[in-house]
């Protein structure tokens, strides 16, 4: 195990990949490895990229990564796609858009399923960010699943969050709604060669005007055509600018605290859920309580209190 950790710290791809698998499967070896990994983390710039499905997240990441590589930075990419609620399987297809990065040993790409997590991320993503960070990657990019309106968990993990929108998805009311349109550090209007782009940019800009009035820092709105590599240089500049802003204003520490809080909550949640629903003593009790609820012999609240009473005493 010590060997595995030291190899991860040296950036060995086999070991990084193996530890990620162990972490995804809640293996005890991973838990103990993660304890040794943590002191070596904190230097990577974590960038979250979110947006509706088909908005061009993977393509944009490919282009951004090429520019980061030109600056001499190494990049870890975590690409999340949905796990089927029916079969538990997943089709992870983000690599298709990143073929150009496949042979670059300064880039490590890992595809992950959501494993039942809502919010656009997957439970093990905190571990994977730490693993890639500790392995020496200068930049770690987290690509969420294609999101709807409310999957906003990426802000808990990313230092810089990019929200990708595309022309033609709705009117200005959509940009006023709560949720995804509130979380951006940078807005990217991708597929800017499509009709309706001026309107989309104007709507996002007016949203920024409303929500940033009085604040000294306005959220930038950029247009890109990722597939033609247009606007990516400017986007990279804004990302760097945001990072410098975080460092200057102590926002960095605040952001990191938010991540560690979310991670702590997630570990406790996972262990508690495991304890309640997978330990055999509770499993039988829960089964019989569900039966009783169905027969109206007991209500769901009383049943929940009975289970929690057993744990909390």
């Amino acid at each position: 195990m010590k060997d595995l950790v030291s190899k991860v710290l040296k950036g060995d791809p086999h070991s990084i990949a193996r530890l990620i698998t162990l972490a995804e499967n809640n293996d005890p070896v991973a838990t103990s490895a993660m304890k040794d990994i943590h002191p070596h983390t904190g230097s990577a710039h974590v960038i979250g990229i979110t947006g509706v499905m088909g908005s061009g997240k993977s393509t944009l990441i490919c282009e951004l990564t090429r520019l980061f590589r030109k600056q001499g930075k190494t990049v870890g990419i975590i690409a999340i796609d949905p796990t089927s609620p029916f079969s538990g399987g997943a089709l992870l297809g983000d690599r298709v858009r990143m073929t150009e990065l496949a042979m670059d040993d300064g880039v490590f790409i890992r595809s992950m399923g959501t494993h039942g997590m809502l919010g656009g991320l997957t439970s093990a993503v905190y571990d994977v960010v730490e693993i890639l960070d500790a392995s020496g990657k200068d930049v770690v990019i987290v690509e969420t699943v294609g999101v709807g309106q409310a999957e906003v968990d990426v802000i808990k993990i990313a230092d810089t969050t990019l929200v990708i929108v595309v022309p033609g998805l709705g009117d200005s009311i959509q940009t006023l709604k709560a949720g995804i349109m509130e979380i951006a550090d940078i807005y990217v209007v991708n597929k800017a060669d499509r009709p309706g782009v001026e309107q989309t940019v104007a709507e996002v800009e007016s949203l920024v005007d409303i929500s940033c009035s009085g604040k000294e820092k306005k959220i930038p709105v950029l247009s890109t055509v990722a597939k033609q590599n247009k606007g990516i240089d400017e986007l990279l500049k804004e990302i760097d600018k945001h990072k410098k802003h975080l460092e200057k204003t102590k926002e960095f520490e605040k952001q990191r605290r938010l991540r560690y809080e979310a991670e702590l909550v997630e570990i406790i949640r996972k262990r508690l859920m495991n304890f309640i629903f997978d330990e055999s003593t509770f499993k039988d009790k829960i089964e019989s309580l569900i039966n009783q609820i169905s027969k109206k012999q007991v209500d769901p609240y009383t049943a929940a209190e009975e289970i929690l009473g057993k744990i909390l005493k």
Partner: protein, 131 residues
């Protein structure tokens, strides 16, 4: 949580026909596996690099161009060279029957031709992959 079988489905070489690969990918997804699809025109090196990073249990190769004796074998050799000899390799596409024994000798564990029921492929993988 049950450990998921991870499968890389790849199209090596210059062959643009990926319907078969997509159907198999979809079927393995429905069988509860995590399928990483690489897309078209992969070199053996790209396939193996992806297999390492994704830490897959299985590499599935699809080829209809006739270059399987070169490309399947290259992938198998490179996987071994990179210390990934525990990965199960399966192939599919237009593979003449007389090539199958030769491919098996080179480490391609099974070859599934056109008309193979998808269940047969997922059952085979489930049986072969050690948990």
């Amino acid at each position: 949580m049950e450990r998921k079988i991870r499968v890389l489905v790849a199209k090596p070489g210059l062959d643009g026909h990926d319907r078969g690969a997509k159907i198999v990918a979809r079927a393995l997804r429905d069988a509860g596996m995590e399928v990483i699809y690489t897309g078209l025109h992969q070199t053996a090196e790209m396939v193996v690099e992806a297999a390492i990073q994704e830490d897959v249990d299985v590499v599935g190769l699809s080829l209809l161009s006739g270059a399987h004796m070169t490309l399947f074998v290259d992938v198998a050799k490179l996987l071994k060279k990179k210390g990934m000899s525990d990965v199960l390799i399966v192939g599919g596409g237009i593979i003449p029957e007389e090539d199958v024994p030769k491919l098996k000798k080179e480490g391609i564990s099974a070859v599934f031709g056109p008309g193979t029921p998808c269940d047969e492929i997922s059952d085979y993988i489930k049986k072969k992959v050690k948990r």
